[in-house]
């Protein structure tokens, strides 16, 4: 492991990140809300820390190993949480404790969208904009952006990209050069965000609201500048735009890029993960719509469909927008909505959670097990759209499930130890580990009132979920550090 190389890249990326403090300064000056100073302060602090890390080792040139990549990614995400919390700590409103500021920043970057702030509507515009911006940066990830912008990372870019990007199969490069791939992904992401903002504008939002919400929609983040979340607008067209773009944000951006490059939307249907994702979402929306209407919770089937569609897509993709009090929906619906966040979107999208592809592989593997009971001698490979899934991938997926649920269980028990009731505890872990945001019970609106220790558990859960557990846990295994 080349620690000086790790330090060099971390410093460089922090310096790069400090530049993102400048747009909020502009927003502050434009709206004259007087809150430019937290961002100038954070720009200086983060920039200086980045430079202090970078300058002593700026001449070190080594090839990055796979291990270095994991270390950089994990450390950078932790650093990002602290760096992103800086302006929130400096600012006098909202007066956040250290714990709360880090929670809010990590929740932003991990595209979770859980908040500890109540009274958003009265905050300065620059602070609100900043929250939306970190969600957007977290969606496609600053590390991918760094790989795109710093081609001199060369081969090292590969190990960063691998450690960073979600999904069980990480070998699919869109272009021969990793920097090009990263640029292509960001390009698609930016275009989708612009389209989303345009949609919101047409639906009647102000430009500030449209951009803010576009940031947290395509990134499936879920922050909103309003306490009432998307429900603030109470508009069916806004809901429709949000539903479509959350869904697209949950699909694979590599797939979006392929479709865009070939100008052929039919390619979506050739992707087994995308089709499963689509039908899954449609089915659950159907069930929810009927459930809401049949239990007379909603008066009209279309009203039922509107809220069901938004809420299902919002939770399925781990966005976390709220337009209706879904925690108090009848029967199994609240629990079901929390549970589908475990399935989440596609690998290569901006969602947290376990990803459709893993569930697909596990379900197919289970089907093979059943067949094996009947035909013990049969050779039945697991296939996805005609291609055999390599056994290593299957066992990796199985291992992922095991670790994911163990982590889930431990964190839930920790939260209960810190005094949360059972419903709040399990939904809080589900909502943070899957990067959803709002949970049930006490954490439906905000995480403000849970104890600090519980907030830290949730913060770790958000990071673990964003890095797909293994990248983070890897640092705690002795093998990783053994020379």
């Amino acid at each position: 492991m080349h620690l000086s190389m790790v330090q060099r890249i971390l410093g460089l990326m922090l310096a790069l990140f400090s530049l993102t403090m400048l747009p909020p300064v502009g927003v502050s000056l434009y709206y004259a809300d007087g809150h430019w100073y937290p961002f100038v302060g954070a720009f200086v602090v983060v920039g200086v820390v980045g430079a202090a890390l970078y300058l002593p080792v700026r001449k070190v040139r080594r090839d990055l190993r796979l291990r270095d990549g994991f270390l950089i990614v994990a450390l950078f995400w932790v650093g990002l949480g602290l760096a992103g919390a800086t302006p929130l700590l400096i600012s006098d409103v909202p007066a956040l404790s250290f714990t709360d500021a880090v929670f809010e920043a990590v929740s932003g970057f991990s595209t979770t969208g859980a908040t500890v702030i109540v009274g958003l509507d009265s905050l300065p515009r620059s602070i609100l904009y900043y929250r939306q911006q970190i969600q957007w940066l977290g969606g496609m990830s600053i590390i991918v952006l760094a790989v795109a912008l710093m081609p001199m990372l060369g081969i090292g870019g590969m190990s960063l990209f691998k450690a960073e990007t979600p999904g069980p199969v990480k070998d699919q490069k869109l272009t021969p050069r990793i920097a090009q791939t990263a640029r292509a992904l960001w390009g698609v992401y930016v275009m989708l965000t612009i389209a989303c903002a345009a949609g919101y504008l047409l639906a009647g939002m102000s430009p500030f609201d449209a951009i803010s919400h576009a940031f947290s929609t395509t990134s499936t983040g879920g922050f909103s500048p309003y306490d009432a979340s998307l429900g603030h607008f109470d508009s069916a067209t806004v809901d429709a735009v949000a539903t479509v773009f959350m869904f697209l944000g949950g699909a694979s951006f590599a797939l979006h890029f392929t479709v865009f490059r070939n100008r052929d939307p039919r390619l979506y249907w050739r992707d087994p993960e995308f089709t499963s994702y689509f039908w899954l979402v449609v089915t659950i929306i159907g069930i929810t719509t009927v459930y809401l209407w049949a239990t007379s919770h909603m008066d009209h089937p279309l009203e039922s469909l509107r809220y069901a569609a938004l809420q299902v897509v919002s939770l399925h993709t781990g966005t976390g927008y709220v337009t209706h009090d879904f925690a108090n929906w009848p029967g199994a619906l609240p629990a079901m909505l929390m549970l589908i966040s475990f399935i989440s979107g596609c690998a290569g999208g901006t969602t947290g959670g376990m990803k459709v592809i893993r569930w697909l592989i596990v379900v197919k593997q289970a089907a093979v097990q059943f067949k094996h009971l009947v035909h013990p001698n049969a050779q039945i490979p697991v296939k996805l759209s005609g291609r055999v899934v390599p056994p290593q991938v299957i066992s990796a997926v199985a291992g992922f499930f095991a670790v994911y649920f163990v982590v889930f269980g431990i964190m839930m028990m920790l939260l209960m130890t810190f005094g949360l009731d059972q419903v709040t505890a399990w939904s809080a872990v589900a909502a943070t580990l899957n990067n959803v945001g709002p949970g049930l019970g006490d954490v439906f609106v905000s995480y403000r009132d849970i104890p600090d220790a519980a907030k830290w558990v949730c913060t770790v859960a958000m990071l673990a979920g964003r890095l797909e557990v293994f990248t983070l846990l890897l640092l705690f295994t002795p093998d990783f550090w053994r020379k």
Binding site: L66, P151, G154, I155, G157, M158, D171, K173, T175, P176, R177, I178, Q180
Partner: protein, 458 residues
Amino acid sequence: MKIIILGAGQVGRTAAYQLSREQANAITVVDTNDEILRDLQDRLDIRTVVGNAGHPAILEAAGCETADMIVALTNSDEVNMIACQVAHSLFGTPTKIARIRSSDYSLRPQLFEEGGLHVDVMISPEQLVTDNVGRLIRYPGALQVLDFADGRVRLIGMRAVKGGQLVGHQLLELRDHIPNRDVRVAAIYRRGRSIKPEGDTVIEEGDEVFFIAARDDIRSMMKELRTEEDPVKRVVIAGAGNIGFRLARALEETNQVKLIERDPRRARRAAEILSRTLVLSGDAADEELLLEENIDDADVFVSLTNAEEANILSAMLAKRLGAHRVMALINRPAYAELIEGGTIDVAISPQTITIGALLEHVRRGDVVRVHSLRRGAAEAIEAIVHGDSRSSPVVGRTIEDIVLPPGTTLGAIVRGDEVIIAHHDTVIEADDHVILFLTDRRHVEAVGRLFQAGARLR
């Protein structure tokens, strides 16, 4: 440049490694073996596609439509040719290079003429290696003999040995030693590191010296670096494979050649075709056999079998038994580094030799010849100067006025039929062929820009 490499064998992998190190290239490698590809992708910044390299669907998936070049390096001549043809007919790929091993194909140019198979460049690694070894044998004492301008100018690499007249002296004394000959020392490697050759540089024993000279001046320069050696007479070759057999055929008219082959049938077949070579059926690592065939009298022992470990061992054995000079064919760069300069005099690396032939077509601008050296770290290139005194930073200037990237030496200029060894006051003209030595190949793009200014860049 977007390049698709077909086949991830030894040569394909080395090509992918070398080419992907240049930022300007985007490499995609196609092979049927997904494990090799996964390993390759872990280490290099390239894309890989699993599948049969000759199939249109696979080539399409590899991005053949937008590729600038495909390089077919699979094991099979037939797949290579078909892949080039498919790339041409379906995707219109501009440059198509194929490895063609069998001389039955390569000796019939009609096959590749208009209306035939669309292969722009054929490379035969075996032939390249054979030529290379042949040149090494003709210049006893040389580690590298590389041709430029159709062999009129050569770059020679050799180790300075006690007894050479220049060893222990400054470079500028060279002119007094050989007054009528003109050579240019392009690079000196001392204990593996390159040092800049200046007039007051003192050549030490064990230095690896690269110099550029016209063909006729080479021998007198070689005498400066080591005691004079007799021309090679007796050559023992181990392995009658593709390379060993070709080498025997090339040398048998001028030298006394013995060819040792383990497989009796292959030995038999070689004996049927070769006329003056003595073909021996047996193991090249068999001490008895080597002694019986007077290995202690052999001027050169070359081990060219497919098994590199066996090559190393049999060459070491031959050296111990008294062979004057031993060479071994070694694929792995790491092995070659371990071995060379020790017991074994020359490590022959087929990939380094082949990669130069590929690089000629990858380089932007008008590059005629590229030789890869020191396992790809250094490079010698022959480029044509374009532009005029206004558009080019080099035309009309003397060499001392040209700012070359660090570690780069301009060794010689070929102007028409004339070979001019570069001096500080030599003036460069348009359409000169310049021969450059780069100790650090990372500067190759800068060098290309320098000499190609005003030229149409591909």
